[in-house]
Amino acid sequence: MRKKMSIRDIPKEEAMWPGNPACQGCGGSLAGRLVYKALGRNSVRVEIASCAPGFMNIRVPSFYAPAFEGAAAFMTGLARGYKLMGREDVVIAGLIGDGGTVDIGFQGLSAAAERNENIFWFTYDNEAYMNTGGQRSSATPLFARTATTPISDTSRGKAEEKKNVPLILAIHRVPYVATASVAYPEDLIEKIQYGKEIKGFRYMQINSPCPTGWGFEPKDSIKVARLSVESGLWPLYEILEGRRFRLTYKPKELKPVTEALKIQGRFRHLSTEESNTIQEKTINNWERLLDMDGKEIF
């Protein structure tokens, strides 16, 4: 039976040295810290072109896959290789940015999921290609300003909604898919500790606010993450065996999305209509998730 975790239950051991060249207040760095804290040091890390190589203070063997699109393939090769040397106990984990997950890495991701490779994939989602200056990815949310979706009278930031990777992967029938947030470390760590014991393809998408790219002060990183969850913009859930859906955090009442959006410079341009559109879509989505909660969805 799974217990709700409190901050006191979080393991004290760190798998990270202090000090890395990530920006002040980097949500991705915190994501990396929490992930490897939860996994423990009997794991390895795969990284690709992204901000993640900057999280060089993580204390597990770290491999840089030399192809941006190759995170999934590289993890596959490692998983098979470690299996051959009799070390399936080592968790093959990747800390991958959204670009390498949802765009250029998507083919490989889907294939690794289809093959049910024994890997644990972590996407630290800062919703753009932040390492190269914040260009739009398909994980960028609707109306967000990025370096390639600028704001003018006719260009209103990203024109498309965020690609829903967790649901896409769940339909591959993989053992475990989850969303998480750096503002909810107990939830994040409990999910990882649960997923760690499962064999096969596991995926977690972690909302990782980026002060530099999203346009807010570093001190507000956790606040932005929290408000995103509390307003339904970033629901926390998990899907087991591709079927059983469970919301892991259900606020009684959702906060208005403007509370989360107004802190972020990337949404400063929103008109009332655009804001309302986001609010409506968020409410609709939330209601659909409430409907799915506790049920077999596929």
């Binding site: 040091r41 009997n42 794991s43 390895v44 890390r45 990284e47 190589p53 060089m56 993580i58 204390r59 597990v60 063997p61 770290s62 491999f63 840089y64 896959a65 030399p66 192809a67 699109e69 190759g70 999934a72 393939a73 590289f74 993890m75 596959t76 090769g77 490692l78 098979r80 290789g81 470690y82 299996k83 051959l84 040397m85 070390r87 080592v90 083919q107 490989g108 889907s110 294939a111 289809e114 093959r115």
Partner: protein, 416 residues
């Protein structure tokens, strides 16, 4: 020793089996598809014990082999033509990380279905060793030798070997299959030297710190590992002052040069143990008293032998240099040969658009510093799978002999 009439693809599959590969990445592409099919059957019936990964594309195939090799697996994959160029991005990775992955390429043109060498030639700057085979027996033998070359401490580079698509890959020839035990004696198990175990992490970092401190103002590798670049936990401080960004290219080039000797040694040892050797980097056929030589790769060399015999019967002083190792390029061999002949005719089943025949230009460069330079002519044939007939090669040989007699060149490059 067993003997069987088999297609080239099966010979390749046998070589991987005998080399005891334990990680195979499989993806279909004509004309190599049956290589991975044979291997999947070998794995299914227990003849090979391996992780067999049906990947979704060639670049994944290469990355899987790369990562598996880091983790200690003896990795193998096969591809052709467009599959190979799709893999290009990852080829740089395998070579740069100095991993002894072996890949069979059923040579197919990058733009067509038919066989030519443009696919492997297109990868010539990736830092892979490239060997070419003229018959199915050589393909099987090379497939085994490849691992010995790749895993040699002096080399630690990936090896690709080519066999002409369709002409070899789907054509049956008699092939002798060495005994497993004899191959085991020749080829010991692969041992990865890469830092991959989590429990060793702390000690390796401490070790690395000492090396880093020493290397502060010395342009030397910062770690004892040949491919430290892949391990972020070791490279995090590599960008300090005193670091020479060029050293990895330089040391890779040095390894390539050392590989020349290793290829010769491995070939010679293979000859002693199994009774077949291929001359090392080049095989010189009837060149002892030749005034003219033609240079060919792959199955064209096999056809050329017959052409040479025919012309020799007429008393013409001509020989064949079969180029087996294209990378590293046997410059020294061509310098030596260049001193003894008056004219060289180079048969290129490839082209570098905007410059010309690749082997043609390489040989011209190789003989450049000789006091008395031979004339070098280039011929394009067999591209896009165009049939190479005996009379085509004879025509080339005759033209080259004519040029030698007249001591002047009408046209340097001819399309057959």
């Amino acid at each position: 020793m067993k003997s069987e009439v088999m297609v080239g693809n099966k010979a390749v599959a046998y070589s991987a089996k005998l080399a005891r590969v334990n990680l195979i990445a499989a993806y279909p592409i004509t004309p190599q598809t049956t290589i991975v099919q044979y291997l999947s059957e070998f794995v299914a019936n227990g003849e090979i014990k391996a992780e067999f990964v049906n990947v979704e594309g060639e670049i994944t195939a290469q990355l899987v082999c790369m990562a598996g090799s880091i983790a200690g697996a003896r990795a193998f994959t096969a591809t052709s033509g467009p599959g190979l160029i799709y893999m290009h991005h990852a080829l740089h990775g395998t070579a740069r990380y100095r991993l002894p992955v072996v890949m069979a390429v059923a040579n197919r043109g990058v733009r067509t279905m038919g066989p030519d060498h443009t696919d492997m030639m297109d990868q010539r700057d990736t830092g892979w060793i490239q060997l070419y085979c003229e018959n199915n027996q050589e393909a099987l033998d090379t497939g085994i030798m490849a691992y010995k070359i790749a895993e040699d401490e002096r080399v630690r580079l990936p090896v690709s070997y080519g066999l002409d698509g369709y002409v070899l890959s789907y054509t049956a020839e008699p092939v002798e299959i060495p005994e497993q035990k004899e191959v085991d004696d020749f080829l010991p198990p692969y041992k990865s030297t890469y830092p991959v175990l989590p429990e060793n992490f702390d000690a390796e970092i401490e070790d690395y710190k000492k090396h880093w401190l020493k290397g502060k103002s010395i342009n030397e590798p910062f770690t004892p590992y040949p491919a430290d670049e892949s391990f972020s936990h070791l490279t995090m401080v590599n960008w300090g002052p005193g670091h020479d960004q060029q050293w990895r290219w330089r040391s890779h080039q040095e390894a390539m040069m050392k590989a020349k000797q290793v290829i010769k040694e491995v070939d010679e040892e293979y000859g002693r143990r199994f009774g077949r050797s291929y001359g090392g980097l080049v095989d010189e056929y009837r060149c002892e008293d030749a005034d003219v030589v033609i240079v060919a790769m792959g199955t064209i060399a096999s056809t050329a032998r017959v052409a040479i015999d025919n012309l020799r019967r007429e008393g013409k002083p001509i020989g064949l240099v079969k180029l087996k190792s294209f990378r590293p390029f046997p410059k020294e061999e061509f310098e030596r040969i260049g001193k003894t002949v008056s004219t060289i005719g180079v048969l290129d089943r490839n082209i570098s658009l905007g410059e010309g025949g690749i082997v043609y230009n390489s040989i011209r460069s190789a003989i450049y510093d000789l006091e008395e330079k031979p004339l070098v002519l280039g011929y394009h044939l067999g591209l896009a799978g165009k049939e190479v007939r005996l009379r085509d090669v004879e025509q080339i040989a005759e033209r080259t002999l004519k040029t030698a007699n007249e001591k002047k060149v009408e046209t340097f490059v001819t399309w057959i």
